[in-house]
Every structure is written in C-alpha cells, then in structure tokens.
Amino acid sequence: MSVSQIIFYIVAAFILGMGILSVTTRKIFRSAIWLLFSLIGIAGLYFMLDVEFIAAVQIVVYVGGIVVLIIFSIFLTQQSGKEMPKAPMTRSIFAALAVVFGFALTYLLIYQYGFVTIDQPFDSTVARIGHSMLKTDQGGFSLPFEVVSILLLAAMIGCIVIALKVKPEEK
C-alpha cells in the first residue's frame, strides 16, 4: 500500500465521519461547522484526483460562499446555542433502515458492475477547461455557460424580490 493510497483512505474516512457528525449533531451551529470540514475534505479528494481547478472552485464557492451564507442565516433565525429537538425514535429508526438498505443495494450494484478503466494521463489544466468552455463548435460548452449566467441573474433578482421587506400597510 503506497502513501497516496493511505492518504486517500484517511481523507475518505474524514469526509464520511464529518458528514455523519453533521447530520446527527443536535446543535445547529456545530452542524454547519462539521459540514464545512466535510466540504474541505472533498476539496482534498479533488486534489488527489488531479482536478485542481475543481478543488479550488469547491473551496471558493462552497467553503467561502455557501457555508458562510448558511452560518449567517443560522445567526439570523436561530438561538445557535440551543439544542434542536430530537427526532422521534420511529422516524430515525426507519430513516436509518432505509439508508442502510439503500446503501447496501447501491454499493452491491456498483461493486458487481465491472468498470473498464482506462489507464491514461488525465489532462485537466485550466487552459484546456477554459478553451472548451468558450468553444462554439463540437465539444464546446458555450451555450450552457450562457444559460447558467442567465440562471444566476434570475436567482439574484429572485432573492432580492423574495427578501424584500413587505411594508406594514401592504400586509
């Protein structure tokens, strides 16, 4: 077993452990912090898979954007020191059963399916990604790029409209 394999298993255990803590802890602020660590672990996994650009985007967007947004909204809406009410026993038992059987079935299918992997260097430099993102002919992604920019604009306007304060006399 080489060093990179050992590092991979440590990172994998870190991601899964932080994910489990994030969905089971009863303090909402700690839940957000465990989620943050899990996302950082996923960025480390991307580094190990040789996709440095995706790892950087993961850190910038998820860790720097979404988790900070979630923490802000926790501070705006919750008493973060208070514990959340416990889920009813039947609900958590049935959820755990569904999750365990779903995981067993899915992983059995994955394990038995023989993936034919190609051992070939994977070139994912930023220059190559950028060229094919703005290419307009075969294999280019300029149309989804434009569609996503329209989507971001629509989401921005939608957020402003939703979060506008309604004046008391209009209610």
Partner: protein, 104 residues
C-alpha cells in the same frame, strides 16, 4: 497512475449521498435540511469527476457537469436562504411542520 480503485471512490460518494439522505429524513429544520442537500450534491460531483478521470480521461464532460452543478447549487442555496429568512419573518419558525400554508 490510478492507484486507487474506482469502486473505492464510488464507496465514498455513495456513503455521502446516503448520509445526506438520512439527514433529509430525520431533520425538520429547514437550514439543516439544506445542509443535507448540499452533501448529496457534493457526492454527485465526486461521481462525475471520478467517472471522467477513470473512464473517459480524454474528455472533459464530467468536469463541466461538476462546474455547472456547483454554480447551480450556489444559486439554489441563495434562493433557499432568502425563502427561509422570509418564512422566519412571517412565521417566527423555520420548522417544516410549522410551514403548513403556502398562501401569504
């Protein structure tokens, strides 16, 4: 080159997806449910990158799908948090059981 078998990476992503599903089933607070959804989206991203690297290393489609999923997840989180904060202003609670009416 590829020292880690593909099925071990898929184990991580499957585990993360079902952890997110457990959180979605048991939690009743909107912000924690949103966090569970983020975990599930991340597991999908790991899948796309791993398939791209191991099965089609000459293409970049999986990476582009990952980039677009991250973008859409950011937009989705922003809209969801705007909805949560608006709901908190009106109902004084962000529990999904308390948000029984859509008309406001």
């Amino acid at each position: 080159m590829n020292e880690i078998p593909l099925s071990h990476i898929l184990f991580v992503s499957t585990g993360l997806f079902f952890i997110g599903m457990y959180g979605l089933f048991t939690r009743r607070n909107m912000i924690t449910m949103l966090m569970a959804i983020e975990l599930m989206l991340n597991s999908v991203n790991i899948n796309f990158v791993a398939f791209n690297k191991y099965l089609y290393p000459e293409k970049l489609d999986g990476i582009f799908f990952t980039i677009f999923i991250i973008t859409i997840a950011a937009a989705e989180a922003a809209v969801a948090i705007a909805i949560v904060i608006h709901l908190y202003r009106n109902h004084k609670s962000i529990d999904v059981e308390d948000a029984a009416e859509m008309k406001w």
